[in-house]
Symmetry: C2
DNA sequence: AATCGACATGTAACCGGTTACTATAAAAAT
DNA sequence: ATTTTTATAGTAACCGGTTACATGTCGATT
């Protein structure tokens, strides 16, 4: 019913090995023979069975992207970057939502091993050293985002969180803020810690600095709302807020708005990430933008590179971030 | 190096067939034998090779989700619904962004065929009858969103666009609007047409109705902005806008805001879709919410049902939508 | 006693590719 | 003239499962 390589071989009057050579462009094949084979393939509408290929050749042309939750506005852009590059290179992407749960991540890894994916991109942070080592053992190339584990293989892509945070606070100072608070994300996340450190680096030198200007959020909108409410109780006079990510900045905006506090008039707000959301708030949000799409692209490129050359040396790349000034910090 | 079914068989002192039976829980197996096999599997850390399974058994436990663009805020929620259900049933999801381009969709279908995915969910609308027929021929179960093509197999999931649109306009009337405009999406899309029809159904009966209250948008934020600008030139006195989707509603909000027109004070705005964005605008957007996540879940459920029972009768399901009233229509 | 069906397990073909190895002719090198 | 090398193509094993078919046991049925 469905044409196989043997059907093609028969029709073209050659052996299966020759057909395989034509398909994979390897080994010696006379150009006339090649024509014959190609004609036969066309005539039979031959579609090689990837599964058989994978079984025999150990390549599935499939990579996986494990992220916490595709619904989080940070990830669709990233996923898109990954998918575009993958597609350009003949790869297909399996999407996995881990909800930042180590168990789920681990269970996904098992499934992905069974499916023989060629590589994995992790945009999550819950694997322990041991899990990564198991991956190395299994010879599965991988790329991680935002995390620099201690190992010999793998590739890590990070952004300059520290520098970005510093830039954010400096920008708020430039905008005339006299007392700047920071809503930080979960301390377990390096990104959150680095941003916090960036804030402190600049803030500590200011006369108004006091540790209670640091309030915890959890990288969600609601966390931002609550953080601001708490903040205003202690510091009714803050006039600048640097949120550890855009979602919390949006929450901050909401909370301030509810309280009737004008942004940027009374309080300036700056986020971090550069997700699309920041363009639709009122006022639009100033933010430290990560090159989200490019991170995805780069992750995919690096991974495919590793797969193709089976190179596995450890490598880390840091990308820059950029301050995007919008209305939320434009005191005029 | 890596354990195969034969290794397990040898260690357990049985044949490969028996091991296979134990794995797939089919055929007769003595419970003692089963224990032995299970022990052997554990001892060797045996992980069945899905590829070999797929080759032999014709099942890959993989489905694909083809959507226009995961960056569009409508889709992450949907994708999440699909993925969750898939995961619960042991399936893995391949994500494909088609940018609403027929060519890309078709090329994806080819790739997916090669990879022997067990089924496909389409959240796009650019396939012609012929493409679908080819899928039927290839015996690949599929589920489509928002579109009812004329065929014998396949499953279609839609929402009540017409009813939702009517509800939107009625709500605007209730809110006291005296002249309601509609920004409609691309006429090629059924969803856009149905919503437009819903608007007309109600609006036509109103004294203020005139065709120039219908302005084209393209389902993007920018389209919404431009539509409102055009609208205000012809009808500076509109006091209600029903946008064909949330993105355009956000655009409308932006445009009105720029013009210094207050929402909902001077103009009330209502969107359609119920994406998260609607909760972060200022004012928050009233919208007709689709059960986005549930649509994804349902699509995945229906697809898996079809795969498992290889039932292929044509089926269509319509889900309800719900009006979510927020500030953008609360003239007080 | 012969027949039958439920139970248990093994053998080997098969899925559809890849590729190591072999064979042969023609061109190049010695 | 002989050896090597290069170009071309075929044979068959192999990847790691699934499963049709064969074989055999044992209690139940006739």
């Amino acid at each position: 019913m469905k044409a196989t390589i043997r059907d093609v071989a028969k029709l073209a009057g050659v052996s299966v090995a020759t057909v395989s050579r034509v398909m994979n462009q390897n080994g010696y094949v006379n150009s006339e023979t090649e024509q014959k084979v190609n004609r036969a393939m066309k005539q039979l509408q031959y579609v090689p069975n990837q599964m058989a290929r994978g079984l025999a050749g150990k390549r599935t042309k499939t990579i996986a992207l494990i992220l916490p939750d595709i619904s989080n506005p940070f990830f669709p852009g990233l996923a898109r970057g990954v998918e575009d590059i993958a597609q350009n290179n003949g790869y297909t992407v399996i999407l996995c939502n881990s909800d930042d749960l180590g168990v789920k991540e681990r269970s996904y890894i098992e499934v992905l091993k069974k499916k023989y994916v060629d590589g994995i991109i992790f945009a999550t942070n819950n694997l322990v050293q041991e899990d990564l080592e198991r991956l190395e053992e299994a010879q599965i190339p991988f790329v991680m985002l935002d995390r620099a584990p201690d190992m010999k293989s793998g590739c890590v892509i990070t952004v300059n969180n520290f520098g970005g945070a510093k830039a954010a606070v400096e920008h708020l100072l430039d905008a005339g803020c006299k007392k700047i608070a920071h809503i930080y994300g979960p301390k377990e996340l390096v990104t959150a810690r680095e941003r916090l450190e960036g804030y402190e680096e600049v803030a500590r030198k200011q006369p108004w600095y006091t540790p209670t200007l640091l309030v915890p959020g959890d990288f969600t909108i609601d966390g931002g709302v609550k953080a601001v409410e708490a903040l205003l109780r202690n510091h009714p006079d803050v006039d600048g807020i640097f949120a550890g990510n855009d979602l919390m900045a949006v929450g901050a905006l909401k909370a301030l708005n509810r309280r009737g506090i004008s942004v940027p008039g009374e309080v300036a707000v700056c986020g971090f990430d550069g997700v699309n959301l920041t363009e639709i708030t009122q006022p639009e949000l100033t933010t430290i933008a990560q090159p989200i799409y490019q991170i995805g692209e780069l992750a995919a490129k690096k991974l495919i590179e590793r797969i193709d050359q089976s190179s596995s040396h450890y490598e880390t790349v840091e990308l820059g971030v950029s301050l995007i000034v919008r209305d939320s910090t434009q005191k005029s």
